[in-house]
Each structure stands twice: as structure tokens, then as C-alpha cells.
């Protein structure tokens, strides 16, 4: 499982952009002092009506889906046996590992009695198998470990070539063992997201009486699963384009372009499921009422439908700007769908409203900044990004 084509970017770490991120991260960390010192009420806009805010809806529900690039690419490379996508796997695993790690961190911040979280994996006899949230918790905890192990060959590779003597010895003894176990770890890295990404949909089936009919669906688990797949591919295209341009490396437009039909068909499948179910349940008329729900609903779906159709056309395979634009729209639409299912569509009744507090936003921004910083550090020091990908040959 060697990636001969990946090399460290190198260069100075503390660029002005990096320092800006460090500042945002520091401010976020300061906001955490209020949260842990005075409780969730002082730090957030959450209430007894809206008991979940952006720390769950954005950091966890959206963050893990954008981190599904590793999962989505692994499906292509290792299950569908499309080895040509190998150069895209490592960066996708890195963003996935970061997305999931910080989602887990956000849960620690969000949960009121965080010091008891060790009880979830420990007290097996307490497990409630009715709870989709338990499935999410156990799966995400495991997957955070699995995805870092999946990423670890990059680290071992660097240690083997230019580490300290101790690192080299470790890499040389651990490497072969890891290579042997890796197929089964990769398989776990495909199974676990399949489970918890669908469960994130099941979570919002329980409060069905409080859910808007345009978002509630008995298909929520399947919709969330398909959604995280095309979000994963879109994130890979977005991230690869930004990082290759940012570091002056050549992007393989044709390779990224060959992801286009995969995403296009996934999106069409998603939309057929969503609309078909709305028609079957007789809930579609709710989309033709002049209110904010209908507006958000159409925005979500158009942000998927338009780029979905574009990606199925020939243009998307040749032009980097088309790919990037489509991926960006898909990320917006797919993210909105998840966010709205957890916040907009959830209605606890009259008298309640939710808007994130400044501190809440600062914490989320801080976590994003930390992810960017770690990403930059890792790609500069370790072989993650494809070095000079060969120019597309005809």
C-alpha cells in the first residue's frame, strides 16, 4: 500500500494565514472557558426548546459528512477496485480524520456531563439498542481510531525515510504488521461510516411529531447515507483543488473529472428517493406554500439538482473550474440538507427559537481553524499530497 507519488510539501509553516488561524483557534479556546466554567446556558443560544445547536448540527452532523471523503474514496479504490484514485485517498483520509476528531471534540464540549462519557463504551450492560444515538456514539468513537490508523502509513513512510533512529526502527517493525492488517482495517473504515452516517438520519426519526414533513422521512437513514457519499466526493474535489492550487501543484483534472458521473448519479438517486417519498406520503404540497420552509427546501434541492446535471455532462470531465463550482454547490446543498434536518425542520412548538450565540460560533470557528492548522502542518511535513501528478495524456 505504498504511495510513491505522495511527497511532503515542505516550506515555512507560520505563514500569515497560519497565524490568523492560530488567532481564531485561541479565541475559540478562550470561549471554552465560559462554557466549562459557567455551563451551556452562558455559552450558547441553546434552550430547553432547541436543545441542540450548531455544535451538533454543524460540527458533528455536517463535519463528519464532509469528512466522509476517506470513506467515499475507499469505496471506489478498495471495493470497486479503481486503483487510479489512489493519489486522492491520503488527503481525503487526512481531512476525514480531522473532521471526525473535531466532531468528537465538539461532542465533549456539547454534552452537559462530559466527564461520564467513558461510560458509553464501558458499561455494555447499560446499552440501549433502541437508541440510534448510541449507535452513532460507539461507531464514531471507533471510527476516529480506525481512520487515524488508515492514515498512519503516511507517517510511517516519512519516519522510515527520514526519521530519528528510534522512529525508523518503529516504522520498520510496525510497517509490515500494519500492511497485513490494513485490508481489515480499511473494511472497518467502510463499514463504520455506513452504519453511523445512516444512524444520524435515524436520530431525527424519533421526534417525528416535531419534524416538518418536507424533512421528516422514513427514508432518513438512506437519505443521510447517500448524502454523506456525494458530500464526501465533493469535499475531495474541493479540497484537492484548493490545496493543489495553494501549493502550486498540478491538479489532475481528468482524474477528478472521472468522479463527476459518480456524484451526478448519487445526487439523482438522492433526489428521486426524497421526492418519491414526499409524493408517496402526500407531503409534497408543503413545498408549494409561500414560507421559509418551502424556500429552504427548494434552495437545498436546486443546489444539488443543477450541479448534479452539470456533472453528468461532458464539460465537467474536462474543466477544473466547472468541477470546482459544481463541488462547491453540492457541498452547500448537501450541508444545508443536513443542517436543516436538525435545526430548521425541528419545531418544538410555539414560543421557542434558536440562533447561535457569539461564543458558540467562536468555538466552532476555533475548531475549524485548528483543523486547518493541523492539515497544513501535516501536508508540509508528511507525504500526503500527490507530488507532480502526470499531465493528462490522451
Amino acid at each position: 500500500m505504498s504511495h510513491a507519488t505522495a511527497t511532503p510539501v515542505g516550506g515555512k509553516l507560520t505563514t500569515p494565514f497560519f497565524n490568523l488561524m492560530a488567532l481564531v483557534a485561541l479565541v475559540g479556546a478562550a470561549a471554552l472557558v465560559v462554557r466549562f466554567g459557567q455551563g451551556l446556558g452562558a455559552a450558547s443560544g441553546m434552550t430547553d426548546g432547541y436543545a441542540w445547536g450548531i455544535w451538533i448540527a454543524l460540527d458533528v452532523v455536517v463535519g463528519t459528512a464532509l469528512g466522509c471523503g476517506g470513506y467515499a474514496m475507499a469505496l471506489l479504490v478498495y471495493v470497486a477496485n479503481r486503483g487510479k484514485y489512489h493519489p486522492l485517498v491520503r488527503p481525503a483520509l487526512l481531512t476525514g480524520a480531522l473532521g471526525y476528531s473535531f466532531a468528537a471534540l465538539s461532542i465533549v464540549v456539547d454534552v452537559g456531563r462530559y466527564w461520564g462519557m467513558w461510560k458509553i463504551p464501558t458499561y455494555v450492560s447499560w446499552w440501549n439498542f433502541d437508541s440510534a444515538l448510541l449507535e452513532v456514539a460507539l461507531c464514531v468513537m471507533t471510527y476516529v481510531m480506525v481512520i487515524w490508523i488508515e492514515f498512519s502509513p503516511s507517517v510511517l513512510e516519512r519516519w522510515r525515510s527520514s526519521g530519528t533512529p528510534g522512529q525508523r526502527t518503529f516504522a520498520e517493525s510496525a510497517g509490515p504488521k500494519l500492511d497485513k492488517a490494513l485490508p481489515w482495517i480499511i473494511a472497518l473504515g467502510i463499514l463504520l461510516p455506513t452504519m453511523h452516517q445512516s444512524s444520524l438520519g435515524t436520530v431525527m426519526m424519533l421526534p417525528y411529531s416535531k419534524m416538518h414533513p418536507l424533512w421528516f422521512s422514513p427514508l432518513l437513514p438512506l437519505l443521510f447515507l447517500v448524502n454523506c457519499l456525494f458530500l464526501g466526493y465533493a469535499a475531495v474535489i474541493g479540497e484537492t483543488t484548493v490545496s493543489t492550487n495553494g501549493f502550486g501543484r498540478r491538479s489532475d483534472t481528468r482524474l477528478l473529472g472521472s468522479l463527476a458521473p459518480v456524484m451526478g448519479w448519487l445526487i439523482l438517486f438522492f433526489l428521486v428517493l426524497r421526492f418519491g417519498n414526499l409524493v408517496l406520503r402526500g407531503s409534497l404540497p408543503a413545498a408549494f406554500v409561500a414560507n421559509k420552509y418551502a424556500a429552504w427546501f427548494w434552495l437545498e434541492n436546486l443546489l444539488l439538482l443543477v450541479p448534479g446535471i452539470v456533472l453528468l455532462g461532458k464539460n465537467a470531465r474536462e474543466r477544473a473550474s466547472t468541477q470546482f463550482g459544481a463541488a462547491f454547490a453540492i457541498m452547500a446543498g448537501g450541508v444545508l440538507y443536513r443542517f436543516n434536518t436538525y435545526i430548521l425542520a425541528y419545531d418544538p412548538g410555539p414560543g421557542w427559537s434558536y440562533f447561535p450565540s457569539v461564543l458558540e460560533i467562536l468555538v466552532t470557528a476555533g475548531f475549524v481553524a485548528m483543523q486547518v492548522m493541523i492539515y497544513l502542518f501535516v501536508v508540509r511535513r508528511f507525504p500526503v499530497l500527490p507530488s507532480a501528478t502526470p499531465a493528462p495524456s490522451r
Partner: protein, 297 residues
């Protein structure tokens, strides 16, 4: 409050079943697994009669006393009152007033003690359980404060201590710590709220309805709502339950659909294990010795 009928749900569930069956063959058995608990002879509850309540709030004060809860001070024209406007972290029961034109009716809120509770279904490590008498008990030593119970509860009952760094959930547990039983019903001067076995409460509700023809709406809220609750409500003939603030719910137990999916997909872990074996085989085959790897340009 959105209105999803049982028929819509079942239609949807059928579609979900077909779709999920392709991913996990176990779904077909789903509906059989999540049997409703149904009513048990020993269940206890409350009967609240909105037509008798005079809004004196003795029940609210007594509840705070019995549960050692602090006052929820509200200053009106310079004078402080213990006046909670809703259930909250210091209030396990509350009296609210519902207005309809120039008429008004009182409404008592507390945990409904559902037969098939969403909070029990939601909680990851069973901090909520159906205890003796069907009372939903809360165990703070298991609670993680993830607040999924609040998201799940159709009545918005469990409350979180937002202002505390070491918070717990707060909700009525029918004064299970008192050997005398419920404090609220003990002090009610008008028998507007009474406690006891649900079978007796149901009989009393019907007796009251029969004794004063035309006075009551001919329904008992909680008899079938969300699969049935142990706290029951009577209202005046011209004051619908929705006006009192009780959500319009069908007879499906709130957790029915999500547990069907959970049990279907994870039935004896057969589907996940089979899926893992299949993926594992594919990955192993495709990475074997790196032979098949990167064979294409």
C-alpha cells in the same frame, strides 16, 4: 407542530422497508420486534380536570417543596413572585392559562409518563427507565447530558440545567421518593388533579363525563395519544386539548418508527457482520500483494 398521520407513516415505512431491505435483509422482521408495552394493571398516573382547576397553583408550590426545588422568582411591578411560566430546571409541574377569546382555561403540565416513552428510547445508556408503576425514572449517575431526551419528547418535558457547570435533567417522577406519593394531587383543593392507578383514574374520568352531560369534551387526552400516557386530561366541551397546549398526536408510540429501523438493521448484528465480511473480502481481494493495485494508468 406538524401533523403526520399514521397512514402516512405506514406508507412511508413500507417504502423504507423496501429500500432498506436491499442493504439489510433483516428489516422485514422490524415491526414484529418493537411491540408496544401496553397498559399494565399496576400503572399509576394523574388525572387533571381543567374544568375544576381554579389556578391557585398550590400544586406548583407543593411540588417544589416536596422535590426541594428553588423558586423561579419573577418580579412584577416591583414585587417578587415564584412564578414559573413553563416547566424548567427548577419546575417539575406548572399551571398555565390558555385563553380563547374572552374565555380562559387552566392547564397543568408535568411529565406525561408515556407507555412507550421517547426519552427511554432515546437515552444511550438507560438513564431513563420505566420503573415500578410505569413511572419513568431518571438516574443522574448514568446521564451524560446529551439532551437527546429533550429532542425526542413530544411533550417537551425533560428540562436541562443550562445555568450549571455540573448539570442534570429535571422532570417529574411522580414523587417516587415520597411514601405518601404525589405531592401535587395531595394539596389540590378541588380534586382538579388526582393521582392513583390509571385504571381507577380512567373510570373516574368517565364517571365525571357521564355525570355532567355536555360539560366535558367527550375524549380523554392520554388514552391513546402517542400510544397512551399514564397522565390523563379532561377539558371543557368548548376548549379543545390543542388550545390547552397539548400536541395533536396520533396513536403510534413515538419511538415506534425509529426503533423499527434500529432493530431491523441491527437485528442480532447479522447485517453489519455480513456487510463487514463482504467488504473485507473485497478489500482483501483488491489489495492482495499489491498485484491488482494501480494496474491502470
Amino acid at each position: 407542530m406538524t401533523d403526520i398521520t399514521r397512514r402516512q407513516l405506514l406508507q412511508g415505512a413500507a417504502v423504507a422497508g423496501v429500500a432498506a431491505a436491499t442493504a439489510a435483509p433483516a428489516t422485514a422482521e422490524a415491526s414484529a420486534e418493537s411491540e408496544a408495552r401496553g397498559r399494565q394493571p399496576g400503572d399509576i398516573g394523574l388525572l387533571y380536570d381543567s374544568t375544576l382547576c381554579i389556578g391557585c397553583r398550590a400544586c406548583v408550590t407543593k411540588c417544589k417543596q416536596a422535590n426541594e426545588l428553588p423558586v423561579d422568582a419573577l418580579t412584577i411591578n416591583g414585587a417578587p413572585y415564584d412564578a414559573p411560566d413553563d416547566l424548567n430546571a427548577t419546575t417539575k409541574t406548572v399551571i398555565q392559562v390558555a385563553t380563547q377569546g374572552d374565555r380562559f382555561a387552566f392547564m397543568k403540565r408535568q411529565c406525561m409518563q408515556c407507555l412507550d416513552p421517547a426519552c427511554v428510547s432515546a437515552c444511550m445508556i438507560k438513564a431513563y427507565q420505566k420503573g415500578p408503576g410505569g413511572v419513568i425514572t431518571y438516574d443522574q449517575s448514568r446521564c451524560l447530558g446529551d439532551r437527546y431526551c429533550q429532542i425526542a419528547c413530544p411533550f417537551n418535558v425533560p428540562k436541562f440545567q443550562w445555568s450549571k457547570a455540573i448539570p442534570i435533567m429535571v422532570k417529574c417522577e411522580m414523587c417516587r421518593h415520597r411514601k405518601e406519593g404525589c405531592a401535587c394531587s395531595e394539596v389540590c383543593p378541588r380534586q382538579a388533579v388526582i393521582s392513583g392507578k390509571v385504571t381507577d383514574l380512567m373510570a373516574e374520568a368517565r364517571r365525571r363525563q357521564a355525570a355532567s352531560p355536555g360539560k366535558y369534551l367527550a375524549r380523554i387526552y392520554g388514552e391513546t395519544e402517542a400510544g397512551g400516557t399514564q397522565c390523563l386530561y379532561l377539558t371543557a366541551a368548548d376548549v379543545p386539548f390543542e388550545t390547552l397546549g397539548l400536541p395533536k398526536l396520533d396513536t403510534t408510540p413515538q419511538p415506534h418508527l425509529s426503533t423499527s429501523v434500529q432493530h431491523g438493521l441491527y437485528n442480532k448484528m447479522i447485517a453489519p457482520v455480513a456487510l463487514y465480511a463482504a467488504i473485507g473480502f473485497a478489500v482483501w481481494k483488491n489489495t492482495r500483494g499489491g498485484k491488482d493495485e494501480e494496474k491502470k494508468p
